[in-house]
Symmetry: C2
Subunit: 365 residues, 2 copies
């Protein structure tokens, strides 16, 4: 199934809500992801917005509540551009689903990730203008989409801690890669929270509420929380889940693809790696013997605290079946867990287990 | 072997240089580690310092080089107190040594860690007074100790990135737990860099140098770097190692101790966990079946971004041999690697593999 404006290989996981992405072997072609390749993760409809009627409200624990038009955002605040990789907390969920079913969640491969140049205004500047009261500890946000869930209709929302909200990398963006945001990516305005799970980069952003507690929206209070492996829908205590924010270090082999058939001998492996919270990817290790021995990959020169890092490595493949394994290390010496089965969780978030692809090398005659 | 001023159970790994610590089951007794229990990690002698002659030099890429007495430090800058856990990058090295020998390095168990209240002045305030030139990207430091290594005599040193140096938690400390620093802990002045490996908290601090590159001192340029598992002394390319800074999430079972004999049934397990870079420990999981199933531990109420977190859990032990396993999760959803063998490195740093203790429960008659 193809989707208008997207790459012919774009995988549509669902159309209502719209969820899809371009396979990682295509994503790996360019450091900045072309719009046609950028994943879409929606929970509700794509709202049609009349730009003249659009307002961004800033309220809650502020000195001066604001009600901003798109024109005033562009006119009254400095325009900024940043490069940032967004990644869904459900990226690589399909590997967890293969271990034990995760009903009702999108079966993402490693395509729920992408890097773009975002242009907009700094959340910091807008909050400064509103005046932050000292009791404000979180910035909650909501979009214009409408979601049906648990018998209620509501807008997608969530929150980030005030310390993150005040960092210069957090943007209210109206452009992606130099073009206006398309409707599926949040036209006319979205949040971009680099280093955090994609769910916090809320689209069709219409309201910012400064408050003492984190958001009570379903997507902060229940979904996008990390639960111990034993938790199920039947026994979950929602408030005991970890609220997700920064994502952990993750590494994906993009080429060759899983199941590829190649001649034995030297083969170039290529992939992406990224680390949350502004930490940098410092090393990527490759193994062809299930992690017994490793070699370091070559890291791409492009480096930015908020973007992924491309890497490649030459490995020697034997005739027969080869399992190629990759894992990364971030600047805080965090590395990735070995077995996805050990980090399985019933919502299927944050799978950063070693990435493995099987390459079949036919025996020579 | 006992050491003056230290707990009777203090383990002395070496006396020249002095290296030792108190077993984790004793450390677990108090959230703030008593001085007699705090580990000592030295690379050279313990210098005898005449406080009247002591000077701290601040030089390099600064507007106004400083030459400060202890009196001027106390008099001209605001006095601050912080609570911070220090942890040696070699904590838990003995587990790596059991996999493959690591000659010439201290065989730390899980005792190279401790939490203290540190009093001193902010590094930020001192750097502000010196005036930071824009080219300064690192703050290098050196102590008054003398080390013999590779045929040279030099002082212990290292560096931290300027962004970290400007954070309010980094202190030039002259007191520990309300008392003057004892000689073994850095009298009269030491750096305290919370969230970073202990090696950056240099003792007998005498010189701060602002510079464009990180330190060329042996302990930054060669030691305290993380190398891939295949690297050995024979083939190491020092500059390819990751310079260590923030430490990753780590969890230790303090009680019962490894090899303990206890009746089968419900047993309370207690331990510590800590995460680097100001990240918080959000969950500790316990398993008694090698990681197949897990239960969440109860986390202590004390929370501070720069300190460890105590935890405890009740588990059910079977008659016979029980392996109790612990792993932690930090606020960036980083968790710990399963197998120490997969993260072995020839200097033996940053072992945060799942912690395992064996408890023997005699069969009932």
């Amino acid at each position: 199934m193809s989707y208008p404006g997207k790459h012919p290989d774009f995988i549509v996981h669902s159309t209502s809500p719209l969820n899809g992405g371009t396979p990682p072997e295509v994503l790996r072609e360019s450091f900045i992801t072309r719009q046609e390749n950028l994943y879409i993760r929606n929970h509700g409809n794509i709202p049609q917005v009349e730009p003249k009627l659009f307002r961004l409200k800033v309220e809650g624990l502020v000195e001066h509540p604001l009600n901003l038009t798109l024109d005033s955002l562009r006119r009254d605040f400095p325009i900024k551009t940043i490069l940032a990789t967004l990644q869904c907390a459900g990226n690589r969920r399909s590997q967890l689903m293969a271990i034990r079913p995760i009903p009702g969640e999108t079966p993402w491969g490693a395509e729920a990730v992408g890097t773009a140049q975002w242009t907009g205004v700094s959340l910091f500047d807008v909050l400064q203008k509103a005046g932050i009261k000292p009791e404000a500890k979180h910035v909650a946000f909501s979009g214009l989409d409408e979601i049906e869930k648990e018998g209620r209709r509501f807008q997608f929302g969530g929150s980030i801690p005030i310390q993150k909200a005040l960092q210069p990398e957090v943007l209210l963006a109206f452009e992606i890669n130099g073009e206006a945001l398309p409707p599926a990516h949040g036209y006319p305005l979205r949040l971009v929270v680099p280093g955090f799970i994609g769910a916090r980069s809320v689209k069709w952003l219409t309201r910012l509420t400064l408050q003492a507690q984190s958001s009570t929206n379903y997507y902060q209070a229940k979904a996008y929380r990390l639960f111990p492996p034993e938790t199920r829908h039947e026994n979950v205590v929602w408030e005991r889940g970890m609220e997700l924010g920064e994502f952990p270090v993750n590494t994906v082999i993009c080429r060759p693809v899983d199941g590829a058939r190649l001649p034995a001998g030297r083969v170039t492996i290529q992939g992406y790696a990224l680390a949350g919270g502004g930490r940098s990817v410092e090393r990527v290790d490759l193994s062809t013997d299930g992690g017994q021995t490793w070699q370091a990959a070559e890291l791409g020169k492009d480096r930015d605290p908020w973007t992924w890092r491309f890497w490649e490595a030459e490995v020697e493949l034997e005739p027969g079946r080869n399992e190629v394994v990759a894992r990364g290390w971030d600047s805080a010496a965090n590395t990735q867990p070995e077995e996805a089965s050990r980090i399985w969780n019933f919502k299927g978030y944050m799978n950063n287990a070693w990435h493995r692809v099987t390459v079949l090398c036919p025996d020579r005659e």
